[in-house]
Amino acid sequence: MSMNPLLEIKSLVKKYKEIVAVDNISFSISKGICFGLIGPNGAGKTTTIEMIEDMIPPTSGEILYKGKPRSSLFKQEVGIQFQQTSLLSSLTIRETLNTFKSLYNNPADIEEIIDICNLREIQKRLNDRISGGQKQRLMLALAMINNPELLFLDEPSTGLDPQARRNLWSIVQKIKERGNTIILTTHYMEEAERLCDEIAIMDKGRIIARGTPDQLIKEYCEGVTVILPRNSINIPLSSLPFRFREINGRIEIRTNDINSCLNTLLSENADLTEMTVRSPSLENVFLNLTGKQLRE
């Protein structure tokens, strides 16, 4: 834990009648990092982030911002991108940005925000006549309109095509480089690995693991997976000295010692031309921790 965390969450609980959506979670977030909350749908990520945003009240627990309970200034200093929201219609993108800019005491330079979020070419278009990717960029720009110290991004790339998603990631990278602190929820592991400095994995309302992506992978996953076409091995499979499985004409070998594995395969004259080596990912971390896939 950092000496001076920007945000401290202590024993946070949210109950809806009999359902415990968030079950006594605690964590802190240092200034300037991108903190990822990952987990499957229904894990409690959005409920957690909305309690921190002050959009819904917690059942119990404490949320400290800069070491103190959140004051009326909190909303002046944070930016929020929700999973799903709409905007006042019939306004152009520039008018929408100007409207939101007027709601803050210390707004950002609107031209800079337009450039960061790649909105210049479409700034005169009505905000309800743009594509999904463009809308997400506009929502991100609105979240940035007050140059926030703390930026909340709730599943920012859900529903976007791969190109729009990568485009959004590059914008978030630019925001990170400006030094803004970011809390991001996602169920895309590639997104978390690419953007987050620290990650908390949530399941059933609890945080089940926490650390940097590398730490989590090292701690919860062992070895690598070597994948070869079935016909590249000329000896009976039963004589292979590894744990393996055969799927769709391919052999997947799990090993903790890649050098020894490759030496054995070469000594048996295996054809390695089409071989691939897969390192473990956060998805494997989650699978190992919970026994289920992230998108289940």
């Binding site: 945003e53 959009m55 819904i56 009326s72 909303k75 002046q76 929020i80 929700f82 799903q84 929201t85 709409s86 905007l87 006042l88 219609s89 019939s90 306004l91 008018e95 100007n98 409207t99 939101f100 007027s102 709601l103 803050y104 005491n105 609105l142």
Partner: protein, 348 residues
């Protein structure tokens, strides 16, 4: 409260309204069409209250002078005569209340048929019989009301404007705010420093501006086609309409304080607007109605607004003369704002 934030929301909402061409057009066109329609129906020389069939006739429309029925009856105003080839054809129309009385043309005994269950038939039968009696000028003395005549269109016009104001306020504030809540617009605004008071004030001010703008435009538009008589002061009328629009917008706010269901809100708005439209004397007077109907009517702001407007427009009353109506409107506004503000939720 931040005036900058309030102005930003007011400006954005006005842009949204004025750029929605279809809604904007309808807001102006609807009252104009109603006033125009009633102007044509009640203002024209051909208006008739009763329909009297006669037979035999070769065509449906025959010149009055060619119809062989008692001249005293023929000359009665507000009766339209419709010809039928045979008795059977006329009787069929009478049976279905498409005409109020059927007369046999050229009959020496002045034969006629009427439906005993038809109120209009009863009246027109009396007219028919009276027209057959010799005129006795001493039987009743006609007196004249001195002063300006109030035409129906002069009485109706403020009612139509006020009704349009009511629909625009309740749907424009009530329904729109619930829609914003459902789609997440309010949630997004709640993530900013904007306060509920600033947002709601902007909504009401925006709606009042739209209502008064529409009122002025429709008034000017209708004045080009109809000459309305205003006995009192235009400034007083403006103030009464302004007070009424504040009250109706506040009503809309109270309706929109909670809820995310557009269908439910639509039902609530209909539940309020329809009785208000019929019981606030927009279309007809409640004179002679039962006491409880009049009491219910008093609960509606439209009743008091219309009462004040008609007193100024038709009778030349001053603001002091309508101070009771204005006081009731202010009271209703205060109650609605208090309820709306106390119950308002950004999310639920």
């Amino acid at each position: 409260m931040s005036l900058k934030r309030l102005w930003a929301m007011l400006h954005a909402r006005n842009l949204e309204f004025f750029r929605d061409r279809s809604a904007l057009g309808w807001n102006f066109l609807f009252p104009f069409l109603i006033v125009a329609g009633f102007g044509i129906i009640f203002g024209g020389k051909d208006y008739s209250e009763y329909k009297v069939g006669f037979f035999p006739s070769q065509s449906e429309t025959v010149s009055i002078k060619d119809i062989d029925i008692p001249s005293g009856f023929k000359d009665t105003r507000f009766i339209k005569f419709i010809g039928f080839i045979s008795f059977e054809e006329g009787a069929e129309r009478l049976k279905h209340h498409k005409i109020d009385l059927l007369v046999k043309a050229g009959s020496q005994s002045n034969e006629y048929w009427v439906s005993d269950t038809s109120p209009k038939g009863y009246i027109v039968e009396k007219l028919f019989k009276a027209s057959l009696l010799p005129e006795n000028k001493n039987i009743a003395e006609k007196m004249e009301i001195r002063g300006n005549e109030i035409r129906y269109i002069d009485w109706l016009f403020p009612g139509i404007l006020a009704m349009n104001m009511m629909f625009s306020a309740l749907w424009g504030v009530g329904y729109v705010v619930v829609r914003y809540r459902k789609t997440g617009v309010l949630k997004r605004l709640n993530a900013t420093p904007l306060t509920a008071f600033e947002y709601l004030t902007a909504q009401i001010l925006s709606r009042i501006f739209i209502l008064m703008f529409t009122l002025a435009a429709v008034w000017i538009g209708c004045s080009l086609f109809f000459s309305f008589k205003v006995e009192g002061s235009y400034f007083d009328l403006f103030l009464i309409f302004l007070t009424g629009s504040i009250c109706l917008s506040a009503y809309g706010l109270a309706i929109a304080a909670r809820g995310t269901s557009e269908e439910f809100t639509s039902g609530v708005v209909n539940f309020i607007t329809w009785p208000m439209m019929f019981l606030s004397e927009v279309w007809f007077s409640l004179e002679g109605s039962s006491r409880w109907v009049k009491l219910i009517a008093k609960l509606f702001p439209l009743t008091h607004m219309l009462s004040a407007v008609r007193k100024v427009m038709n009778d030349g009353a001053s603001l002091a003369d309508v101070s009771t109506e204005l006081a009731v409107l202010f009271f209703m506004t205060a109650i609605s704002i208090a309820v709306g503000a106390a119950l308002f939720s950004w999310n639920r």
